[in-house]
């Protein structure tokens, strides 16, 4: 069953086609990642799927409800973790959950029954009465996640869930998200951390300039788009070595002082590098980040 389906979605702001005819299919129970550089249209796509912004063209079905026509009904079974935390600073942790539950029509008793479990999940047990400004960035993000779960949603939208968090906080969020998909919930997340997408997402789509460039599982995308081995090289004499390397590798990318050399078999390249004492190199398997940079380019955005 499809949890989210979008067809030929378009949204224009002024002359800018922010979302330019995209199709999305997210199956129930999967973690789906929407990747793209800043300004690719990821957040706008999420807003369209939630019925917060109306599309210029296209159709959306979220949990079986047409959006935006029945967005309200769809949102009652959806949770949202936004890019920047918007917890209520005047309230305690528990009050934030209480007030948010009321937006879903929940009674005080119904919220209170869920609070201990949610705080436990968010690693905030014993913090029910803490004020928001006493929480760290990671705690705030976890509370925002707990808040998004108040209505026991079938589907969770997360806009860059770990941006700005330290590694400990990020790993905890990842572990919790995996637990949520194991419980059968669907997750749609946007990110530009490839590591995050590679670890969490069953499937993902790469978006740029309002269009979807490609979609598939992280492994499939790597296999489809890029040579399996990468050698990163920098140092003096790089250009001379590259003349030699180009005969051994199908693809070379240059970013400033560093060359990224992609090959099916890196052994011959490594062989030639052993003789070049002026050059430093790093040999590693190709990752999703290589796919991403190949497809969206190395130029800076925004």
């Amino acid at each position: 069953m499809s949890a989210l389906q979008a067809r030929a979605l378009r949204k224009r702001y002024g002359d800018l086609e922010v979302v330019n005819g995209i199709d999305l299919d997210v199956a129930a129970g999967e973690c789906f990642g929407l990747l793209g550089p800043n300004g690719a249209g990821k957040t706008t796509t999420l807003r369209l799927c939630l019925g917060l912004t109306y599309p210029d063209a296209g159709t959306i079905e979220l949990l079986g409800e047409p959006v935006p026509a029945r967005a309200r009904e769809a949102r009652s079974r959806v949770g949202v973790v936004p890019q920047s935390d918007n917890l209520d600073p005047d309230f305690t942790v528990a009050e934030n959950l209480l007030v948010y539950g009321r937006y879903f029509g929940m009674s005080r008793a119904a919220v209170a029954a869920r609070v201990p479990e949610l705080l436990e999940f968010a690693g905030l047990a014993g913090r029910a009465d803490a004020r928001i400004n006493t929480l760290s960035g990671g705690m705030k993000r976890r509370l925002t996640l707990a808040r998004a779960l108040i209505n026991d949603p079938q589907l969770l939208f997360m806009d860059e869930p770990t941006t700005g968090l330290d590694p400990q906080a990020r790993h905890l969020i990842w572990e919790r998200l995996r637990r949520l998909t194991q419980e059968g919930r669907t997750i749609v997340l946007t990110t530009h951390f490839m590591e995050e997408a590679e670890r969490l997402c069953h499937r993902l789509a790469i978006m740029d300039r309002g269009r979807l460039i490609t979609a598939g599982s992280p492994r499939a995308l790597i296999a489809e788009h890029i040579e399996p081995q990468v050698v990163e090289v920098h140092g003096s004499g790089l250009d001379r070595w590259l003349d030699q390397a180009r005969r051994l590798a199908p693809r070379v990318e240059r970013a400033g002082d560093t060359a990224f050399v992609y090959a099916g078999d890196a052994a011959p390249l490594i062989g030639t590098l052993r003789e070049q004492h002026e050059l430093s190199f790093l040999h590693r398997p190709a990752s999703l980040e290589d796919v991403f940079l190949k497809l969206t380019g190395r130029d800076l955005r925004d």
Binding site: E73, V78, N86, P89, D90, Y103
Partner: protein, 249 residues
């Protein structure tokens, strides 16, 4: 009725910050009432057949209600909408911008009503109200609150930054307070100025409350109530239009 959840959110914040909130909403108008009322009142034998302080109490009730409603829907509303992104969080839930606009307006009117009601209670305690009929000023205060909350929220959903509100405060609210009969009878103003006052909501609130404080039934009730309701309804519709444009475009 989903907007009630928005109202209750604001009510909970108010309850937590009760003392500061009540102090700022009531101390100012009450100091003004007793300071000016007794000070100036000593010089004036009577105004429009009432003691000056009773005359001024009716005006203060309306202007304090207006200021509370306007501050709440503009400054506090803008903080919730823009600074804290509270409205964004609400919109992820099964609420719409229509619910937020309704909740914010009724909340600001409720808070304003409380200002008006408290001033009325203080005035009654000091024997400034001539008869029990004065309780009819309570629904009037809520109506004044609704009118200014709705108009204030238009400013909020149009605002790009805090400075925007200064124009409305300085160019509209302050002069309106001067010409609407809060401090002195509006009838002594030149005709064209009086006509301007009569086109604005505050004048109609004062025209309803002052006779009630004096113990009389106001005249032209229907006209005054209609103007206040019209401002509330039109303000709501316009605020909703621009809020939808700002949030769902």
């Amino acid at each position: 009725m989903r907007w009630i959840a928005v109202w209750r959110r604001n009510f909970l914040v108010w309850r937590k910050l009760l003392i500061a909130s009540v102090l700022s909403n009531l101390a100012d108008p009450l100091i003004l009432l007793f300071g000016l009322g007794y000070g100036l009142g000593a010089l004036l034998p009577s105004v429009a057949g009432m003691s000056y302080i009773a005359f001024f109490a009716a005006g203060t009730l309306c202007s304090a209600t207006m200021f509370t409603a306007s501050f709440e829907s503009m400054f506090s509303g803008f903080s919730r909408m823009h600074g804290q992104k509270t409205w964004d969080a609400i919109l992820y839930a099964p609420l719409t911008i229509d619910d937020v606009v309704a909740g914010e307006i009724v909340w600001a009117a409720s808070k304003a009503w409380l200002s008006g009601a408290t001033i009325l209670a203080v005035a009654a305690t000091f024997g400034l109200a001539a008869s029990p009929i004065v309780v009819m000023a309570l629904p009037v205060a809520f109506l004044v609150g609704l009118a200014f909350a709705a108009v204030g929220l238009i400013m909020t959903v149009l605002a790009k930054n805090w400075d925007f509100f200064s124009f409305y405060m300085t160019l509209i609210m302050t002069p309106m307070t001067m010409i609407s009969g809060v401090f002195f009878p509006a009838e002594q103003l030149p005709r064209p100025v009086l006509a301007v006052a009569q086109a604005l909501p505050l004048y109609h609130g004062v025209e309803l409350v002052r006779p009630l404080v004096a113990g009389d039934w106001p005249r032209n009730v229907l006209v005054h109530v209609t103007v206040l309701v019209a401002y509330a309804a039109a303000g709501y519709a316009i605020a909703l239009y621009f809020a939808r444009r700002r949030f769902t475009a």
